[in-house]
Symmetry: C2
Subunit: 396 residues, 2 copies
């Protein structure tokens, strides 16, 4: 580990403080970098949303059969481009309000004691395209989720080695992906409260492996932050810098994007932990185009996964009559080794000929549950409206 000879409890210069370091030359981007907007009531998915949907992708829901999502099936959301990364020259720096700034190459980082965590990750925008009015952005339906085994160095190890100053309150994480968003040219950058960044439970990781292999490019090769229980925007990919600061980070992805707000002027609340959700593996077989499911009369095994970043999921119920009546499903036992992973659930439904709507619903230990009438916010974040699976049961 290289200890820098920097300024110790330094000036806080650098990427930490929003408008000073994120280029706000709005004019040059006026024609190409639109403001946030809501779709009109009858407005279908536009070419911009389609371009995002064909680049990024969700988890095909039948892949919830795997407790750990195989490579390439975990959801991916890339704000800008996947950057080219050279493992041989990659460096992670830890600086700002620290006594001992660090600069670590990958070999050094990988020589430190490592931890592995199985983490269910979900995009904060999952469910956005089901909202009305629809916030115009990546148009997720329900599939922006995945569970992986992430291996890396606990962030608290690095913070201890850097000797964080007593007045530090946040850690700011910078990725190598660069672009413009709503007129703001930026590297992707997010912060965490120091209490979260340095915690042991859950333990934040600087991960270099996913499912026991080097990170794939689209998941942040060579380094990615992993923040168990938080929505995906916190898990900064292509991580190369950590800056400790004594003042709140006001960068675009913290203060402008990723806030629960009702109106454009509402300062809103920050998006943090994952709201509870249960998803059902759609039973039977699909129609190619409508994706409607087809089953035959009789017992139909149903299974899926359920998770919450707020507390352990304690109950999954399923409705077979479009969210009118509910039946308890069987939850797999809690696994102390994987407190941040989704839980498997299953039950059996007796199908009768005709159309049906199946709906699962999760509740966690703190009593958070899923709505069956849509919640709404301007960014389309944290929409855990219960799933609706349309099934047609054929005649006997």
């Amino acid at each position: 580990m290289t200890r820098g000879t920097g300024t110790g409890h330094g000036s806080g210069n650098g990427p930490g403080n929003g408008s000073g370091t994120e280029d706000r030359r709005t004019d040059p981007f006026a024609g190409i970098s639109p403001p946030a907007r809501l779709a009109a009531p009858d407005e279908a998915i536009g070419p911009d949303e389609l371009a995002l949907a064909t680049r990024n992708h969700g988890l095909p829901l039948e892949a919830m059969r795997y407790a750990v999502t195989p490579a390439g099936l975990h959801y991916v959301l890339t704000h800008y481009d996947i950057p080219a990364a050279d493992a041989d020259t990659w460096q992670l720096t830890v600086r700002g309000r620290v006594s001992s700034p660090l600069t670590l190459d990958l070999d050094t980082l990988m020589s430190l004691p490592a931890a592995t965590q199985r983490v269910t990750m979900e995009c904060a925008g999952n469910g956005r395209a089901r909202l009305s009015p629809r916030p115009v952005s990546q148009p997720w339906l329900l599939e922006a989720v995945g569970t992986a085994e992430w291996t890396g160095v606990p962030l608290r190890t690095l913070l201890a080695a850097a000797d964080v100053a007593p007045d530090a309150t946040e850690a700011i994480f910078t990725g190598a992906d660069h672009g413009v968003e709503r007129g703001v040219e930026q590297d992707y950058r997010r912060s965490l409260p120091l209490a979260v960044a340095a915690a042991a439970h859950p333990e934040v990781l600087v991960a270099y492996a996913m499912n026991n292999a080097p990170l794939p490019p689209q998941h942040g090769f060579p380094l990615r932050l992993i923040v168990p229980g938080w929505y995906g925007m916190a898990h900064v990919k292509w991580l190369h810098e950590i800056v400790l600061t004594a003042s709140p980070f006001t960068g675009f992805q913290q203060a402008t994007a990723y806030r629960y707000r009702r109106t454009p002027d509402d300062p809103g609340e920050p998006v943090t932990r994952i709201a509870p959700r249960a998803l059902l593996i759609p039973p039977g077989f699909p129609d190619f185009m409508s994706r409607t499911r087809v089953v035959h009369p009789g017992p139909v095994p149903l299974e899926g996964r359920a998770w919450s970043g707020q507390a352990q999921v304690t109950r999954v119920e399923v409705s077979y009559d479009n969210a009118t009546t509910w039946h308890s499903a069987d939850l797999a036992p809690t696994d102390p080794a994987h407190p941040w992973s989704w839980r498997h659930w299953h039950t059996t439904w007796t199908a009768t000929p005709g159309p049906h709507v199946l709906t699962p619903r999760a509740t966690d230990a703190e009593g958070h549950t899923q709505p069956t009438i849509q919640p709404w916010n301007r960014g389309g974040f944290g929409n855990n409206l219960a799933q609706r699976v349309e099934v047609v049961c054929l005649p006997t």
Copy 2:
């Protein structure tokens, strides 16, 4: 290798012959399995197309930087669901018009002499969403492509072992994915002319590895057909049966889907080999929402890949003025080891402030090139209309 004790030059019963074996009970699926249709002139992407776009995914174009596409970045198109597959019990059968029917488990298959081929694969529907009127199906823009190293047993080895009958003319390949499409319940099934199936150049593979690892579930685990030079619909995933027949296969994916036709009644021509295409890695950096590219004035390196399933690509040109004038790009030397892989190309563009449209165009050794005015057919197949990359160069 287990040699079956079957009927030798058998009856041809089985999945070979279309309507007798694909369930055409149209009525039960009437409300859920729509016919093929074209979008109205002003019709945006619908919920059905979005559901396909969030499940399937393309290659983020910047990932063309990799000669071999890393796991999870290669395009994926799944007609129905990714089936659950048990490697321990999986069997591949070869039967029909053969003297010695075969039943092989994976261990046996993997003990046979193997070959590896680097193959560029593209979905036949790539470019569909750029057509007007737009055929309603998986709404690809340009990104349904990828290149992988596939390892497996040459199909001609298996055909020789099965001793194909002199009157056999086609081989029919069945995957384990099951669904309904335009009212037809079916397993995914495609045929090849025997001359293609048994050829040495290109050599068709029964692949069990992709990029030196077992096939991922979404790419056909445990077995997938690889047909170098052909569009993706020929590369049957989750392959478990090969039937030799003496008559043309009339199954849905052969006789109804995947045909170049202008009208619903046109019998059309079959979709086979990949038309030439060059793609440019979009230069500079993107706006998140519009995906418009931003560059600074001065020299801008441009690079990309070009391929054709019809003949070697011999020329790539680039236009910087919306397909008005053309400039030759530098093509990487041909690589005799990888005749079915895309070729790298590069050039340098001098950007001046303002908006620009960049367009690459490939031409192959047989003189096939890319149109700059859209071709059109009802299925939206083989649309190799040249790419348009919108770039804004900032002021000096």
